[in-house]
Amino acid sequence: MNRAGLFVPLGVFALILVVGFAGFQLTDPHQLPSALIGKPFPEFSSTLLTPEGVSVDRSRLVGSPVLVNVWATWCPTCKAEHDELMRIRATTSLRIVGVNYKDDPQQALRWLQEFGDPYEFNLLDLDGTLGVELGVYGAPESFLLDAEGIIVYKRVGEINQRIWQQELVPRLRELEVLGDA
């Protein structure tokens, strides 16, 4: 047998190692690709957290780009991203709309009084129906919509400085919400 042939098993082993390593590094099995990217934000009819009982539909989300943030008071990661949402609200012109997901409206109101309210308004999704329409499987989730209401980006998990800089800022420049730096 050819001497070089002896190295074939080693090569195969190295290949398995590289493929396995890349496979585990590149994809987080908890980050599912969204089926909704490039599609319009679904039609819905929902009531507002405040003022109470006022009903709204999809038309309230179109006109200018908006970040739709699905949150709840029972969700610890939502608390972790809250300061970043407050910062975005204070320093940019990006609209932020909340979807209060399977939550107690009274607790949600208390949360906003206590920690600040970055939202233009909050849709109530008491039973998770809107969540199912949006393919939500764990709060927090955020959707960036262009002015026509098309979903251009989805984030499962918290919005933080890194996500803001790497994922949102370039898209917001494209949407002309942010000027070129």
Binding site: L32, A35, G128, V132, G135
Partner: protein, 161 residues
């Protein structure tokens, strides 16, 4: 000892039962219920990676069971329409059976490619082995070295070891 084992078995049986989620849904007829049962067994829970909707007690799995129930009973969706509904919102992930399109060719053809590769490798080695058989000249040299011993005797000697 046996008694203790029996107790452990009994407790395990109880926990398994407690862990499987039970929903109380009304169905107008048994056929719809059967369709509902087979549908929730078919989809994967988006939160838990490897449990189907029927077997998961995650809140999202419950929401999706409620949704499937609503689609089947109130909106009279066909099985294909329910599949399309969930796939449109949660993506291919919820389907255990991946769809056939360019992005999944590797998944569908991969095993076949490996089988063909294996066959080629086996064929190559067999061909190589034939080529490695001794030529008549080498055979004669071998005879000369071995002297009186025939190849058969050599075989016997080897198998005795």
């Amino acid at each position: 000892m046996l008694r203790r084992l029996a107790w452990v078995a009994l407790l395990m049986a109880v926990t398994v039962h407690a862990a499987s989620p039970v929903d109380v849904f009304q169905f107008p007829d048994a056929q719809l219920e059967a369709r509902y049962r087979s549908l929730i067994a078919e989809f994967r829970c988006p939160k838990c990676l490897n449990t189907n909707l029927a077997g998961s007690d995650a809140p999202i799995a419950r929401d999706l069971r409620v949704t499937v129930h609503r689609l089947v009973t109130r909106e009279a969706f066909s099985d294909a329409e329910v599949r399309a509904f969930l796939q449109a919102r949660y993506g291919d992930f919820v389907l255990y059976d991946p769809p056939f399109r360019p992005g999944t060719y590797l998944l569908w053809f991969g095993p076949g490619v490996f089988v063909v590769l294996g066959l080629v490798l086996v064929g190559f080695r067999l061909a190589h082995q034939k080529a490695a058989q001794l030529s008549s000249q080498d055979q004669a040299r071998l005879q000369a070295i071995l002297g009186d011993e025939t190849a058969e005797e050599l075989d016997d000697a080897l198998s005795d070891e």
